[in-house]
């Protein structure tokens, strides 16, 4: 699942993932609220639970951190196996602290996503 307010970023990440042909399906959500809505409706709408979430931090409306707060409240079955934060710049110490307290965040990836980087991530987490 790709969560980013920028349509172009989601589109680009989708292309990279498709190149490795490592996903059965890719869900794109433009913003935290949309993503949360999707996850909440996984059983009723028959949406499949994502294995991996790429989450942007800096988004209008509900940003990455706020999304994570709501995400923690979801029941386990509706949560993904792995959540990775997508970064435009390196984390400042406060945010690093914040991230380490959130059990659901497994790691960080710098933008832009590249095929080699994605391959390393797949090896590391799956």
């Amino acid at each position: 699942m790709l969560i980013d307010d920028c349509e172009a970023t989601n589109y680009y990440n989708q292309i990279i993932i498709n190149r490795l042909d490592c996903a059965n399906s890719i869900v794109m959500a433009q913003g935290g609220e949309k993503a949360l809505e999707y996850l909440k409706n996984t059983s009723s709408d028959g949406n499949s639970i994502p294995d991996l979430i790429f989450l942007d931090i800096n988004m209008p409306g509900m940003n990455g951190w706020e999304f994570l707060e709501e995400y923690e409240k979801l029941s386990n079955i509706k949560q993904a196996k792995v959540v990775l934060l997508m970064l435009t710049t390196s984390l400042n110490p406060d945010d690093q602290d914040k991230a380490s307290k959130l059990g659901n965040v497994k790691g960080f990836v710098n933008k832009p996503l590249e095929t080699e980087k994605l391959q390393e991530l797949l090896v590391a987490y799956f």
């Binding site: 307010d5 920028c6 172009a8 589109y11 433009q30 209008p60 409306g61």
Partner: protein, 498 residues
């Protein structure tokens, strides 16, 4: 010690001196009165008593002797006469010797005491002579002895007795006079002391009041001067210097204060310079960033137009993303450029807000008609403001109010103004999408957005502009909103700009 310290000590010292002086004077007066009292009780009163006793004894003695000589009452009077001439009179004479010691040698009373004592002694001798002549009852029958004693009694003892009485009368007068003198002296003393008390009190109090007034002035005046300077600095006038003459603590404080304002001024100047440099930097950077962006934009356009047929659908999507991103980048850079320009124009002008909004309505006419918006403008004041920025402020707020409308519901924007004590309060309300409580603080930050580009396009710089403009006008900007119901932006503009 320092000057103000001295002044304060002098002021308090004055009152302490008054207290001490009065205590000392009081003590002196009491001593004087005690001394006089002492003199009365130990010197004058015993002397008067003694003299009265002598007088009584003298009279009694004369009468007794007369009885003895003339009425022949020898047996009944002899014992008493004997007691007086052998015990009382010698005792009185020795006491008179003591009385003399209490007097100054030059005192005229000495002579009188001597006279009285002398006659008393003579009386004793004379009476002894009479006694020896009239020893038995037989002697009374002797006409010669009777004649002699009668002669002694009438011609000698009566003279002695009269002399003693006269001397005592004189002495009593003198003692009475001394008593009166002492009392008069004491009363004079008390009177002059009380006059002195009054005078010194008035003098010291007057002096104390003058010193207190001067001290208070010396303290209050420099504090006021400092106060004025602090106010002046508060208003941003760092040039103002405190001038406190002298070399006391206040003038030192004044000097320190001047140094502080000097260093504040230089810090402020530095900040100003840095700020200007920064604004210049943002201006140049954003200006120069536009150039390569324009190249990207132009060539993406060319690619889109000229190679439309030769590229596949995916390529078209890619090109579309490039075009969108570079367009957005160009908007962001332009926003930055505008932001750095705000405040460049430092001229305050009187602006009739209603006229300005009429003009603004014309400028926004396309947007208003596209969105089918209604603008309701109340009666607005005429205000001294930075014209261009002030207009931009309203343009941004009205633009937002129209832009963030609920889908399918025509936006209604109301603008009102209310006068407060120091400022005008404007309200710009809409019936739009509203803002969630937890996101109200976010909206005023640079590049902060609550919605995706798809929902509402924008750079997130408009309200940051507004904040900067409001700050220029010494005001505040706040928002009241109910999510899904609409928002009201409250701005205040200081009346004191012009």
């Amino acid at each position: 010690m320092t000057k103000i310290g001295y002044k304060l000590v002098l002021g308090f010292g004055m009152f302490i001196v008054i207290l001490i002086a009065h205590s000392v004077l009081g003590q002196l007066t009491t001593d004087q009165a005690l001394e006089t009292h002492d003199r009365l009780t130990t010197k004058i009163e015993p002397a008067v008593a003694l003299l009265n006793d002598i007088r009584t004894a003298n009279k009694e003695l004369y009468l007794l002797v007369a009885n003895k000589v003339i009425d022949h009452k020898n047996s009944s009077t002899s014992n008493r006469i004997k007691q007086i001439i052998e015990v009382d009179l010698p005792y009185f004479i020795s006491n008179m010797v003591l009385l003399k010691k209490s007097l100054e040698p030059t005192d005229p009373r000495n002579k009188n005491i001597d006279t009285v004592a002398g006659y008393a002694s003579k009386s004793i001798l004379l009476i002894e002579e009479i006694n020896s002549l009239l020893l038995t009852s037989k002697d009374y029958e002797d006409p010669i002895k009777i004649d002699m004693t009668t002669d002694l009694l009438n011609n000698r003892l009566s003279v002695f007795s009269t002399e003693i009485d006269n001397g005592i009368s004189f002495l009593l007068r003198k003692y009475k006079q001394e008593l009166e003198n002492k009392v008069a002296e004491l009363s004079n003393e008390l009177q002059s002391n009380s006059r002195f008390f009054l005078l010194t009190s008035l003098l010291f109090i007057g002096f104390g009041v003058v010193i207190t007034y001067r001290n208070t002035r010396a303290i209050v005046k420099p504090i006021n001067a400092l106060m004025n300077s602090v106010r002046s600095i508060q208003e941003g006038n760092y040039e103002n210097k405190v001038s406190i003459k002298g070399n006391d603590e206040f003038s030192m404080l004044g000097t320190a204060f001047n140094q502080m304002s000097e260093s504040l001024k230089s810090s402020f100047d530095q900040i100003n310079t840095k700020n200007k440099e920064l604004e210049q930097f943002v201006y140049i950077a954003s200006h120069d960033l536009q150039e390569p962006l324009r190249t990207v934009n132009s060539f993406t356009d060319l690619l889109e137009k000229d190679y439309k047929d030769k590229l596949d659908e995916t390529a078209a999507i890619y090109i579309n993303f490039i075009s969108q991103a570079s367009h957005r980048m160009s908007l962001l850079v332009k926003g930055l450029l505008d932001y750095s320009r705000i405040g460049g124009n430092k001229e305050l002008t009187k602006v009739k807000c209603n006229e300005m909004l009429d003009a603004l309505k014309d400028d926004l006419s396309t947007l208003i008609s596209t969105e089918n918006a209604t603008l309701e403008v109340g009666i607005l004041p005429e205000l001294g403001v930075y014209k261009i920025e002030f207009r931009l402020l309203f343009q941004n707020l009205i633009n937002n109010a129209i832009k963030f409308h609920k889908p399918g519901i025509p936006p209604i924007v109301k603008i009102t103004a209310a006068e407060e004590k120091d400022f005008w309060k404007f309200k710009i309300s809409d019936n739009g999408i509203g803002i969630k409580e937890n996101q109200k603080d976010k909206i005023f930050g640079m590049f902060q957005r609550l919605n995706t580009q798809k929902e509402f396009a924008g750079t997130g710089i408009g309200l940051a502009h507004c904040v900067k403009i409001i700050e220029m006008h010494g005001g505040t900007i706040t928002v009241e909103s109910e999510f899904g119901r609409g928002s009201t932006f409250c701005i205040t503009i200081s009346k004191k700009l012009i």
